[in-house]
């Protein structure tokens, strides 16, 4: 409860800082609009974190056959889908403002679209398999197979066409102003916390549901 309130206060701080404290980013076409980065980048990172956790639990499930691991894998995949969708939408909004069109098959846009398709397919698979053991085994296997193709998306596809996304802003010195750096990293921490909190909630919910069914 305490942590949860802290998370709420923290996220309020991030939102206030993003809209009121941050100066407009000069390098962009519409400096005011660049504030969306503070939400776009952490969303994408939370999605990656959620998909990673989902795959780890899928592997764990295939090794140990514990239904709880499968429930965790599914819960995390669901949150990943949500964060990925938000990252795609905020990205499309900013792309429209900065590059002139909302969707232009930038490699990152391609990658996130494929990720959305993978996990949408994952849930389509889950809903069409009967029997919880079989569903768990098949969807874990699919999640792992899908995950091994992600490196191809991340490393191979971008080399085929050029990207409009900057690649080294976060790691290079002088890529970001100090204020942007502070707010962006706080937002990342906030979104990671948000993900953890939502993950625990949906795992608890799944446990209650499974308990009711007597599985």
């Amino acid at each position: 409860m305490m942590l949860q309130s802290l998370l709420g206060v923290w996220m309020c701080g991030v939102i206030l800082a993003a809209f009121l404290w941050l100066p407009p980013a000069k390098g962009f076409q519409y400096p005011e609009a660049a504030r969306i980065i503070v939400f776009h980048v952490p969303n994408a990172m939370a999605a990656v974190l959620a998909f990673l956790v989902s795959t780890v639990y899928a592997i764990k499930h295939l090794r140990g056959r514990n239904p709880a691991d499968d429930a965790k894998s599914a819960a995390s995949a669901q949150l990943g889908l949500l964060f990925a969708l938000l990252a795609a939408v905020t990205g499309a909004v900013f792309a429209k403002i900065q590059w002139g069109s909302a969707w232009n098959w930038d490699p990152r846009q391609t990658t996130i679209l494929i990720l959305l398709l993978i996990y949408a397919a994952y849930f389509a698979l889950r809903s069409s398999v009967e029997g919880s053991d079989r569903r768990a085994a098949l969807s874990s296997a699919y999640a792992i197979i899908a995950f091994v193709t992600v490196p191809f998306l991340v490393f191979v596809v971008p080399r085929m066409t050029s990207s409009l996304h900057p690649s080294d802003t976060l790691t290079s010195r002088g890529g970001l102003g100090t204020q942007y750096r502070i707010v962006l990293f706080s937002a990342m921490a906030g979104f990671a916390g948000l993900y953890l909190w939502m993950f625990r909630l949906s795992v608890a919910l799944a446990e209650i549901r499974n308990g009711k069914k007597g599985v």
């Binding site: 389509a124 698979l125 009967e130 699919y142 899908a146 091994v148």
Partner: protein, 228 residues
């Protein structure tokens, strides 16, 4: 160890031969896939061939879309047939999971290559697509097909235990195959333009590594999918 691997290979070959023989009895998959591919090809050729498409990127994209959907129309049969005719349990008892996967993969690969031998020359003729570097073009088709059938075979094994198999097969396969399709499209377009060796090698490397990764992951995961 030697006897074990040789029995694995002989079992895989036995599974492959069984599938070929039972396919020749009904010719279901061959007919479905070949007719589907020819129909799609004619539909594409009729609707865009009249405009005189000369863009190499567009031509190779169309070729791979035809190949992808043709593969989706028939490659799931290998496992769906076992479930429908209730022979899956007998198969499970008689061979190692790995041997079964490899046998089924070999069968799907044969099917896909047979399809390409018919459809690709037809495509080149009907769409008026000039190919400058034939060796490279066939190499791309070969390694692209290995990757495509590897992914399709493991997804077929998953789908055969679900409801709504037909629709689910394409839905589950496409995101997994997307990197392969993107690479294969760029590669075939380079082959049509007569790309240099270094250029071609860059694409082939991706296709070969995709096939390797997909086959390895499938071999590792297949027993979890196959057991019941």
């Amino acid at each position: 160890m030697g006897t074990k691997s040789s029995s694995l290979a002989s079992k895989a070959i036995a599974v492959y031969r069984k599938d070929i023989v039972s396919e020749f009895r009904t010719r279901y998959a061959v007919n479905a896939v070949a007719l589907f591919a020819v129909t799609t090809l004619i539909a594409v050729s009729m609707s865009v061939g009249g405009f005189g498409v000369t863009d190499k990127n567009l031509l190779s994209a169309l070729l791979w879309v035809i190949l992808f959907f043709s593969a989706m129309s028939g490659l799931s049969r290998v496992f769906v047939r076992e479930e429908e005719s209730r022979t899956a349990s007998a198969l499970r008892l008689s061979a190692d999971p790995i041997a079964i996967y490899i046998g089924k993969l070999a069968f799907n690969l044969t099917l896909l290559l047979a399809l390409e031998i018919i459809v690709v020359p037809m495509f080149v003729v009907m769409m008026n697509a000039g190919v400058r570097n034939w060796t490279f073009f066939w190499l791309i088709l070969l390694f692209g097909s290995v990757g495509l059938s590897a992914a399709a075979t493991i997804v077929a094994a998953i789908v055969s235990k679900a409801n709504a198999k037909g629709a689910l097969f394409a839905v589950l396969s496409f995101p997994i195959l997307a990197p392969l399709l993107v690479t294969a499209i760029s590669a075939s377009s380079a082959a049509m333009g007569g790309g240099a060796f270094a250029d071609c090698w860059r694409y082939l490397r991706v296709l070969v590594s995709y096939a390797g990764v997909m086959i390895t992951a499938s071999v590792l995961l297949f027993e979890f999918i196959w057991e019941d």
